[in-house]
Symmetry: C2
Subunit: 308 residues, 2 copies
């Protein structure tokens, strides 16, 4: 294989109580990544014009470029890659945009290399990509992006990832045009938390994982709570609680901050509920004078979609 | 039904990373609880002589007596109960001794009342029993004792309990003759913990619950870690790390402090491994000059065992 084109999907990290350990793969939005094997032992990045195309083309500064360079080095390849990226996932939105590019490139290169990389190696290289955009990167976007479905990142250090089969659910992503830096959203978190809060959180995590695994919607609903991270970050997102409360009223199973925000996710049993939440949110932010993109997506069970 | 006799089993709370939210039911040791319906509207407690029979017979001070009184009041019963208790579970050992009496009495009375109580009501009354022996009681012993198997206590306030089907496993309980007060073991815990430690812990909880649900022994092994509570309480239990390290060497899936100790539990895939750990531990504590009781038990999937 000398050429491959894929869709690398958006992901929702954290899912309320699962801060840094849970991630969910969606169908859209997505980045398009096309990789060509080239004779020169180098990495070329080409950006296809899109609404979000202001990312670096210097491969060392690009979340897809750096892992490509590293793979060429580590596997002593005598060829290189031309990587064409069409960004479809808003940058710094909390939808795993940088992870999608990183994972998409690693996934595509692995196909060109006849699936030489193990799952753990794919994670490792995609994480190298993530390190371009954030210090101390986590795997809660790259893991679901690479493998699909709901992933538990049991341990980032050893890249111990567990995939959980979950039902077909719909997610409404609400992305208000508010600037939230991933690094700032991380830096504002407390170093220490109350043990009682932590215990509440781990009860909810155990409940949420079990709810997803068993398709127990009521349990998902009861468990998708976060009293630790969400209250700290919510003030960064104008209208967060309005959207959250209304989403729950409209029938969402859970609603929270996607990754570090400002995107808000609402998980729904069906498309009709997701559509109602979309309509409300669009209207709400229009009335606030804030631009807002909204996406409705099914859960993606398999990861990147191969286009050719 | 006017009379019932049951075995109320020991339970392992916490299971390393699941502090206050996980509990596992065993076959043995157990308390024997016999309840007779009596004409007088009162509660009588009778103790059958055993190694651990030094518990109060005043029903208001007995973990089985208090819920019985409360049930008579709440359900406006015009009769009462004679409760005969033969303690088989060591007191203050970390094996859910007080919970077994409380749950056993509630379970037995519920049978006499033709299963009038809902699961949540059973939990509520058993928790009232627990409050006799500890302030701010938790449901991580009573829930598995009442319902069997592995239980998640998602939320103690609302008594939101989730039961997880798990494989047939063996547990070795090692109970050295060391005094650890449940209240002291709780009071010594920190009020606050590092967010990074909490994140590690919730990764492990998600992994452990999934490992149990899927019968994935390797995942159970990787996840059964506790860097928050165990290091604080371990110094109370002489020889804890010797037993733990050797148990893991001998093939345990996990080993930690049962409840607030001093009992040490080791979860094993089979009886042979449990037996090896038993032999080592007996010998180890004998050499230390510390008395030690050891039990090997299968996981109990159904809760109290009805004898007649």
């Amino acid at each position: 294989m000398k050429n491959i084109k894929i869709q690398a999907p958006a992901t929702v990290a954290n899912l309320s109580c699962g801060f840094d350990i849970l991630g969910l793969c969606l169908d859209k939005p997505f980045d398009e990544v096309e990789v060509d094997k080239i004779n020169q032992k180098k990495v070329l990045i080409e950006l296809v014009e899109s609404k979000y195309s202001n990312i670096p083309t210097d491969p060392r500064k690009n979340t897809g470029g750096l892992p490509a360079i590293q793979i060429i080095e580590d596997f002593k390849l005598d060829f290189g890659f031309k990587i064409k990226i069409k960004k479809g996932i808003p940058l710094c939105g909390g939808m795993g945009s940088s992870a999608a590019t990183a994972s998409g490139v690693v996934f595509a290169i692995n196909k060109i290399l006849n699936e030489t990389l193990t799952d753990k190696e794919m994670l490792k290289y995609a994480l190298i990509g993530e390190s371009v955009s954030v210090t101390n990167p986590h795997a809660d976007n790259i893991a679901p992006c690479l493998f699909g479905g709901l992933t538990i990142i049991r341990d980032t250090k050893t890249l111990d990832i567990i995939n959980i089969n979950i039902p077909d659910l719909y997610v409404c992503l609400i992305h208000p045009d508010i600037s939230v830096s991933t690094q700032d959203a991380r830096d504002m978190l407390p170093n220490k938390i109350k043990l009682t809060s932590a215990v509440k959180q781990w009860g909810n995590i155990a409940g949420l994982v079990t709810g997803f695994a068993n398709g127990d919607f009521e349990l998902i609903k009861r468990s998708m709570q976060d009293e630790i991270i969400e209250p700290v970050r919510a003030p960064l997102i104008s209208g967060f609680y309005d959207v959250k409360n209304k989403s729950m009223d409209l029938g969402a199973l859970g609603c929270g901050i996607s990754g570090s925000g400002p995107t808000i996710f609402a998980i729904c049993e069906n498309k009709i509920t997701a559509k109602k939440i979309m309509d409300f949110s669009k209207n709400f932010y229009r009335n606030c004078g804030i631009d807002c993109d909204v996406y409705i997506s099914k859960v993606n069970h398999s990861g990147p979609n191969i286009l050719k």
